[in-house]
């Protein structure tokens, strides 16, 4: 009895021995990309958080110095505070600029301007300045502007990282 013809193996089946090891490599590489991306996002988030925390500390110190300055009479101590406040504002600006250069989400120039104006505007460095009570509006304004600058940074941080996808193709 004649044997039925053996069907020729399909193209896919014939390629399987070749494709199979390739698929393994594709899976390994894809897995590595996903894990690596997740690690990079976590590291970047931690690094940014640590920069923000340092800046918040600097803003708090600056706020305390400014309030102390306006509650102090014109004196050598007050003059030293004037120099420290100007120097610290400059250092704060440099820190915020570094943050914005590493991540354009952090645009804080307007909030910085308001804080600098409330801290060093008006009668700052004036010989006729008189000390203020702790309830003075200027002191409250300094605190408000300091909190606002911190708030702008926190919002930028949340916007960038809170809903950040862990998937590399959904950046």
């Amino acid at each position: 009895m004649p044997q039925p013809p053996v069907p020729a193996p399909s193209l896919i089946v014939s390629l399987m021995p070749l494709v199979s090891p390739l698929m393994t490599w594709v899976l390994v590489i894809t897995g590595w990309v996903v894990v690596n991306h997740g690690n990079n996002v976590r590291e970047s988030r931690k690094e940014t958080r640590s920069k923000i925390d340092a800046i918040i500390k600097a803003i708090d110190a600056l706020e305390t110095k400014s309030i102390k300055y306006y509650m102090t009479d014109v004196s050598v101590d007050a003059q030293l505070l004037e120099m420290e406040i100007k120097r610290d504002i400059k250092a704060l600006e440099a820190g915020l600029k570094r943050l914005s250069l590493s991540d354009p989400h952090f645009q804080t120039a307007d909030a910085q301007k308001d804080l600098q104006n409330s801290m060093t505007g008006g009668d700052f460095e004036q010989s006729a300045r008189v000390k203020r009570p702790h309830t003075d509006g200027k002191l409250l304004q300094i605190s408000t502007d300091a909190r606002e600058l911190i708030n702008v940074m926190e919002i930028a941080y949340i916007t960038k990282y809170a809903k950040k996808s862990r998937l590399p193709w959904k950046t």
């Binding site: 004037e82 120099m83 100007k86 120097r87 504002i89 400059k90 600006e93 600029k97 120039a109 307007d110 910085q112 301007k113 600098q116 104006n117 801290m119 060093t120 505007g121 008006g122 009668d123 700052f124 460095e125 004036q126 010989s127 006729a128």
Partner: protein, 126 residues
């Protein structure tokens, strides 16, 4: 000051004024905003079409100094914000200082009795 170009001059605050500018009036210190305005800015703005102010290198600026020096150009010296935007160039690495200065210039209100002579003496722009 650099006079290499006929219609432009550069004021470098550190070289031409002080590394430690501060205060509003001479009573507040030797390097006050009013002294900077009257001795350097106003003469330069009257003589040159473009005045470049290089601001880097100082210890920092108090807003009171900046208001007196730049806002005072409008409040007391008869310049208008439009004229200053045409002729004043602020050169600094800071993003904040120019914002502060232009806000003071734009919001300054000429004080009653302010001489308009500075405006009259402004060079005619080509």
């Amino acid at each position: 000051m650099d006079n290499s170009m006929a219609n432009e001059t550069t004021i470098n605050i550190v070289k031409n004024f002080s590394k430690y500018p501060g205060g509003r009036t001479p009573a507040d210190g030797d390097y006050s905003g009013s002294r900077f305005r009257d001795q350097l800015l106003v003469p330069a703005l009257k003589k040159y079409a473009n005045v470049v102010v290089e601001m880097d290198g100082t210890l920092g600026y108090g807003s009171s100094f900046l208001e007196e020096a730049f806002g005072g150009l409008v409040r007391l010296c008869g310049f208008t914000p439009v004229q200053l935007r045409q002729s004043l160039v602020l050169r600094t690495q800071s993003d904040v200082t120019p914002l502060i200065i232009w806000e003071y210039i734009d919001e300054a209100i000429p004080e009653i009795g302010t001489s308009q002579s500075a405006v009259a003496k402004m060079p005619v722009m080509a």
